[in-house]
C-alpha cells in the first residue's frame, strides 16, 4: 500500500523537477538585462565618440571650458566601463571569448585615457608654444621686412602675408598639409635676397624658427591627437558587442532549444495527464457503476435480509422439529430397548405361570375324575341297592384312577406349581408397578421425589441387562425428597445404568452412591467398565455423538441426560480412565427455581 503510493509520488516529484529545470533554462535569457547591457555598450560607445569629438574640438578651440567637460565625460565613461566589468549588467564571466575581447577593450581604453591625459598636459604646453610663436611671427616678419633691402620689400610683403595666412591655416586646420608651402615661402623669402644682411638673416632665422616650431608643435599635437584618436576602442567595443551578441544569440538559441524541449515535455505531461484523466474517468465510471450496483444492492438488501431471515427461521424451525423428532425417536428407541427387556422379563414368569395354570387345570380334571370315581364308589358302598360286583368295580376304578393320578405326588406338584405361579405373578406385578413408577404418568410432573426409590426402579427396569453379569452395589444416604419431574429423572438413571452396563463387556460392578448435600442431593454412579478417553469424555454430552456402531445408538442418550439435569438446575460431571471405568456425578437442588406454569397443566390433566 505504502509502496503503491510512494511510486506515483516520486514520479510526480521527478516530473515537476524536470519541468522546473526546463522552465529555468528557458528563463535564463533576460531580455531586460540584455537591453541594459546593450545600452551600456552603446553608452560607452557614445561617450567614447563624444570624448573623441571633444579631443578633436580641443585642437580646434583651446577653450578653457572643454577640459571640465572632458573630465565629466571621462567620469561617466569610467562608470559605464565599470558597469561593463562588474555589476548586474557586466559582460564578464559570460564566456571566454567575450572576456578576452572585453579585456582587450578595457586595456585599450585605459591606454587611451592615459594618452588623453598625456595629450591634455602636452597640449597646453604646445598650445602655449604655438600661441607664442604665432605671436612672434608678425614681430619677426616685420623685423625681416625691416631688415630686407627695400627692393625686396615689395616682393617680401606678399610672401609674408601669404606666410601669415598659411601659418594661421596650419594652426587652425585640423589636418594641415601646408607645411611645405610654408617652408617654400621661407625659402622664397631667403632666396629673393642676395647677400642678405645680417639682420635680415637673423630675422629670417627667427622667423624660420617660429615657423618650424609652429609646424613642429602642430605636428606633435596632431600626432598626439591622432595617436589618441587612433586607439581602436570603437572597433574593439564593436568586437565586444559582437561577441556579446553572439553569446546572447547562443543563449537565446539554447533557451529556444529548451523551450522546444519544454513544449515537448509539456505535451508529454499533458498526454500523461490526459491518460490519467481517461483512466480516472473510466475508473470513475466503474466506480459509478459499482456504486449504482451498491445502491441497487442496498435497496434489495432489506428484501434479501428478510428473505434470508425467513429461510433461516424456517431452517431453524425445521432443525428444531427434526431435533424434537430425533429426541422423540431416541426416547422411542430407548423405550423400545426397555420394552424388549421388560417384555422378556414379564414373558418368562408369564410363560411358566400360564403353562402352570394349564397343567393345574388338566391335573384338576384328573383329580375331579378321581373324586367323582371315589364319590361313586362311596355312594355305591353306602347304597343298599348296589351289588357287591358293582361296588368292587367302582372301587377298582377309583383305585385305578388314584394310582394314575397319584394324589400325594400330584398335590405336592400342584402346590409347587401354584407357588411358582404365584411367584411369577408377583414378579409381573412388581415389574408393572416399576414401570408405572418409572413412567410416573399418574403423578404430577413436578413432584416430591425420593431419589433412592427412583434409582431402585430404574435398576429394576434394566435388570435384564445386569442380571447375573453386573453386581450392583447400592450405598444410599438418607436423602430428603427433592422437587423434580420423576419420570425424567428415572430416564436419566436408566440411561446412565444402561451406559454403565454397556461399558462392562463381561462381568463387572456398578456402584451407586447417594448423599445429602446442602440444599440438594448428589448421586454418583461408578462402573468398572471400559472407560473412555478424554476426547470422548469431552464430547459425550454432544447430541448425536456416539461411540456405538452405526444404527446401534442415536448419540442422544447422554445429551438428553444433560438436558434433563440442566432443566432441573443441577449439574453432571464425568471422570473416566480408559480401562478402569467411569464415574458420573449428578447434583440436584432440593427446590426448582421457577414454578413451571406450563408443567402444571398436564399434571392436572393426569390427575
Amino acid at each position: 500500500m505504502k509502496f503503491k503510493l510512494l511510486l506515483p509520488a516520486i514520479a510526480a516529484v521527478i516530473a515537476i523537477g524536470i519541468l522546473g529545470f526546463l522552465l529555468k533554462m528557458t528563463q535564463s535569457v533576460d531580455s531586460n538585462l540584455h537591453r541594459a547591457r546593450l545600452e551600456n555598450i552603446r553608452a560607452v560607445d557614445n561617450l567614447d565618440i563624444e570624448l573623441n569629438r571633444m579631443f578633436t574640438q580641443t585642437r580646434a578651440s583651446s577653450l578653457a571650458g572643454s577640459a571640465a567637460d572632458r573630465t565629466k565625460i571621462t567620469q561617466r565613461l569610467g562608470k559605464d566601463l565599470d558597469a561593463l566589468d562588474k555589476g548586474p549588467t557586466a559582460l564578464r564571466g559570460l564566456n571566454k571569448d567575450l572576456d578576452k575581447k572585453l579585456d582587450q577593450f578595457l586595456d585599450t581604453i585605459e591606454a587611451k585615457f592615459e594618452l588623453g591625459f598625456d595629450f591634455e598636459a602636452r597640449n597646453t604646453l604646445l598650445n602655449q608654444g604655438l600661441v607664442n610663436n604665432m605671436d612672434a611671427v608678425p614681430f619677426n616678419s616685420d623685423a625681416v621686412l625691416a631688415a630686407a633691402p627695400a627692393a625686396k620689400q615689395e616682393m617680401l610683403k606678399p610672401l609674408i602675408m601669404q606666410l601669415k595666412t598659411e601659418l594661421l591655416t596650419l594652426s587652425v586646420t585640423p589636418a594641415p598639409n601646408n607645411a611645405g608651402t610654408i617652408r617654400d615661402l621661407i625659402s622664397q623669402m631667403k632666396a629673393g635676397t642676395e647677400a642678405p644682411s645680417e639682420a635680415f638673416t637673423a630675422a629670417m632665422e627667427s622667423l624660420n624658427g617660429n615657423c618650424e616650431e609652429i609646424i613642429q608643435d602642430k605636428t606633435e599635437m596632431l600626432d598626439k591627437l591622432s595617436s589618441f584618436l587612433g586607439r581602436p576602442t570603437g572597433a574593439q567595443l564593436q568586437a565586444v558587442e559582437q561577441a556579446y551578441t553572439a553569446w546572447y544569440q547562443g543563449e537565446v538559441a539554447n533557451a529556444n532549444q529548451y523551450r522546444v524541449i519544454l513544449v515537448g515535455y509539456a505535451a508529454l505531461l499533458l498526454l500523461i495527464l490526459a491518460w490519467l484523466g481517461i483512466r480516472l474517468r473510466r475508473s470513475y465510471g466503474e466506480l459509478d457503476k459499482a456504486n449504482g450496483k451498491l445502491v441497487d444492492a442496498n435497496e434489495h438488501l432489506e428484501d434479501q435480509v428478510e428473505a434470508r431471515t425467513k429461510d433461516l427461521s424456517s431452517a431453524l424451525s425445521d432443525l428444531r422439529n427434526s431435533q424434537a423428532q430425533l429426541i422423540q425417536s431416541e426416547k422411542m428407541a430407548s423405550l423400545g430397548q426397555m420394552v424388549a427387556g421388560v417384555a422378556h422379563e414379564i414373558n418368562t414368569p408369564l410363560g411358566y405361570a400360564r403353562s402352570n395354570a394349564s397343567i393345574v387345570r388338566t391335573t384338576l380334571a384328573d383329580i375331579r375324575d378321581l373324586c367323582s370315581a371315589q364319590d361313586r364308589a362311596l355312594t355305591l358302598m353306602t347304597s343298599a341297592d348296589a351289588s357287591d360286583e358293582e361296588v368292587a368295580n367302582a372301587l377298582s376304578d377309583a383305585d385305578e384312577r388314584r394310582q394314575l393320578v397319584n394324589p400325594t405326588e400330584v398335590m405336592g406338584d400342584l402346590d409347587n406349581l401354584l407357588e411358582d405361579t404365584d411367584h411369577g405373578l408377583v414378579q409381573i406385578a412388581d415389574l408393572v408397578s416399576s414401570l408405572k413408577d418409572f413412567s410416573r404418568v399418574d403423578r404430577s410432573r413436578n413432584d416430591q421425589f425420593r431419589v433412592n426409590d427412583g434409582i431402585d426402579t430404574a435398576l429394576k427396569i434394566c435388570q435384564n441387562q445386569l442380571k447375573n453379569r453386573v453386581e450392583v452395589i447400592r450405598q444410599f444416604g438418607d436423602l430428603p425428597e427433592i422437587e423434580c419431574s420423576p419420570s425424567k429423572l428415572n430416564q436419566v438413571f436408566l440411561n446412565l445404568f444402561t451406559n454403565a452396563a454397556q461399558a462392562i463387556s463381561d462381568t463387572g460392578k456398578i456402584f451407586v452412591h447417594t448423599s445429602a448435600e446442602q440444599n440438594g442431593v448428589s448421586i454418583r454412579i461408578i462402573d468398572n467398565g471400559c472407560g473412555m478417553t478424554d476426547e470422548v469424555r469431552q464430547r459425550i454430552f454432544e447430541p448425536f455423538y456416539t461411540t456405538k456402531p452405526v444404527g446401534k445408538g442415536t448419540g442422544l442418550g447422554l445429551s438428553i441426560v444433560f438436558r434433563i439435569i440442566e432443566e432441573h438446575g443441577g449439574t453432571i460431571d464425568v471422570h473416566s480412565v480408559v480401562g478402569k471405568g467411569s464415574e458420573f456425578t449428578i447434583r440436584l437442588p432440593l427446590k426448582q427455581q421457577r414454578p413451571a406454569d406450563n408443567e402444571t397443566a398436564p399434571s392436572l390433566a393426569a390427575a
Partner: protein, 313 residues
C-alpha cells in the same frame, strides 16, 4: 408318538429361570426323558455326555445366548432338533437363529402347552426318523443327478436376478421372476433347487408360497433376500416356511455365493434323502393369506400339482 422306538425320546430344556424348567418337567416328564440346564455352558457340558433328540432353549441368558448354544450344539449333536423359546428377541437374534442355529421352530413366551407339545412331538418324530441316516449321509452327498438344479430369484427389482447371476457365475442357472405367477410358471418348466426370494413380491407376502412349496416339495430350499427385515415375518418364515437362510440386502457377493452353494447342497441332500424331509416340516398355515385372492389360491393348487414333476426329479 414315542411308540416307534423302544426308548423314550430325550429332550433338553435350557433356561436361566428354574421355574420354567419346573414347568417343563411337569409338562413333558411323562412322555419323554427330560434333561435340564440353567445355562448354555451347562447344556453343552451335558450334550458332551448325553445325546438328545430335541433341544429347547431360551434366547436371553447370561453368559451364552440361545443362538450361541444352538450353533455349538449343532456341531456337537447334529441330529438334535433345535427349538428357540424366548420372551423377546430382536431381529438380529432371529436371523442368527435361522442362519447359524438352523432351528426347527421359534416359540414365543408365553406359550400354549398344546402347541408346544405338538411342536416338540414333531421335532421328536423328525429327529427319530432321520437319526440313523444323518450321521451316515452327512458327508456323503453324491454328485447331482441330471442337470444342475436352477436358482429361482423372486424379487420386485428385475436387476436382482442379473446381479445374482453375475455373482454366482455362468455355471449356475439363474431364473428371475418378479411375480409369484411368473415364479410358478418357471417352476413348472425348469428344475429349481433353490428359491431366493424377497419377503414381499408385488405387495403380497411370499410366506404362503414358500410355506406351500415346502409342504409339498420339501426338497426345495428357500432363502430370503430382503431389505425389509422384520422380526415377526422372520419368525413366520422359519415356522411356516422353514427358510434355510435369511440374508439382507445390499447383496454381499461372498455371502450370497456361500449361501446359494450351501442351499444347493442342502437341496441335493434333501432330494437324495427324503427321510430328512421331516426335519424341515413346516407348521400348517394357521391363517390363510389375508388377501387370498383367487389368483393366490390358484397358485397354491398349481404348486401342489408340481408334485409329479418333482417326483420325477
Amino acid at each position: 408318538m414315542t411308540a416307534s422306538t423302544t426308548a423314550k425320546a430325550r429332550i433338553l430344556f435350557v433356561d436361566d429361570e428354574p421355574r420354567i424348567l419346573t414347568t417343563m418337567r411337569m409338562l413333558f416328564r411323562s412322555q419323554y426323558e427330560v434333561f435340564f440346564a440353567e445355562s448354555g455352558q451347562k447344556a453343552l457340558d451335558l450334550l458332551k455326555v448325553q445325546a438328545v433328540d430335541v433341544i429347547v432353549s431360551d434366547q436371553r441368558m447370561p453368559g451364552m445366548t440361545g443362538i450361541e448354544l444352538l450353533r455349538t450344539a449343532r456341531d456337537l449333536n447334529p441330529n438334535a432338533m433345535r427349538i428357540l423359546l424366548t420372551g423377546y428377541s430382536d431381529l438380529n437374534a432371529i436371523i442368527g437363529s435361522i442362519n447359524e442355529g438352523e432351528i426347527f421352530r421359534f416359540v414365543n413366551k408365553p406359550w400354549s402347552n398344546e402347541d408346544l407339545s405338538v411342536t416338540v412331538a414333531r421335532a421328536v418324530a423328525a429327529a427319530r426318523t432321520s437319526a440313523a441316516l444323518s450321521a451316515a449321509t452327512a458327508d456323503n452327498i453324491g454328485a447331482p443327478a441330471g442337470p444342475q438344479p436352477g436358482v429361482l430369484v423372486l424379487d420386485d427389482d428385475p436387476s436382482v436376478p442379473t446381479k445374482v447371476q453375475s455373482i454366482l457365475g455362468s455355471d449356475y442357472r439363474v431364473f428371475g421372476a418378479t411375480t409369484m405367477e411368473e415364479a410358478v410358471n418357471l417352476m413348472e418348466r425348469e428344475r429349481i433347487g433353490v428359491v431366493l426370494s424377497d419377503t414381499r413380491v408385488q405387495d403380497h407376502p411370499v410366506i404362503s408360497l414358500i410355506g406351500t412349496l415346502k409342504q409339498h416339495h420339501p426338497e426345495l430350499v428357500s432363502v430370503i433376500l430382503t431389505d425389509r427385515a422384520d422380526a415377526g415375518q422372520a419368525i413366520e418364515l422359519i415356522n411356516q416356511g422353514q427358510i434355510y437362510r435369511f440374508i439382507t440386502k445390499p447383496i454381499h457377493d461372498n455371502q450370497c455365493k456361500i449361501t446359494v452353494n450351501s442351499a444347493l447342497k442342502q437341496h441335493e441332500r434333501l432330494s437324495q434323502n427324503p427321510e430328512l424331509h421331516k426335519r424341515y416340516e413346516v407348521e400348517a398355515t394357521t391363517t390363510p393369506p389375508p388377501t387370498a385372492t383367487t389368483g393366490t389360491g390358484k397358485f397354491l393348487d398349481r404348486i401342489r400339482s408340481l408334485r409329479s414333476w418333482v417326483k420325477r426329479a
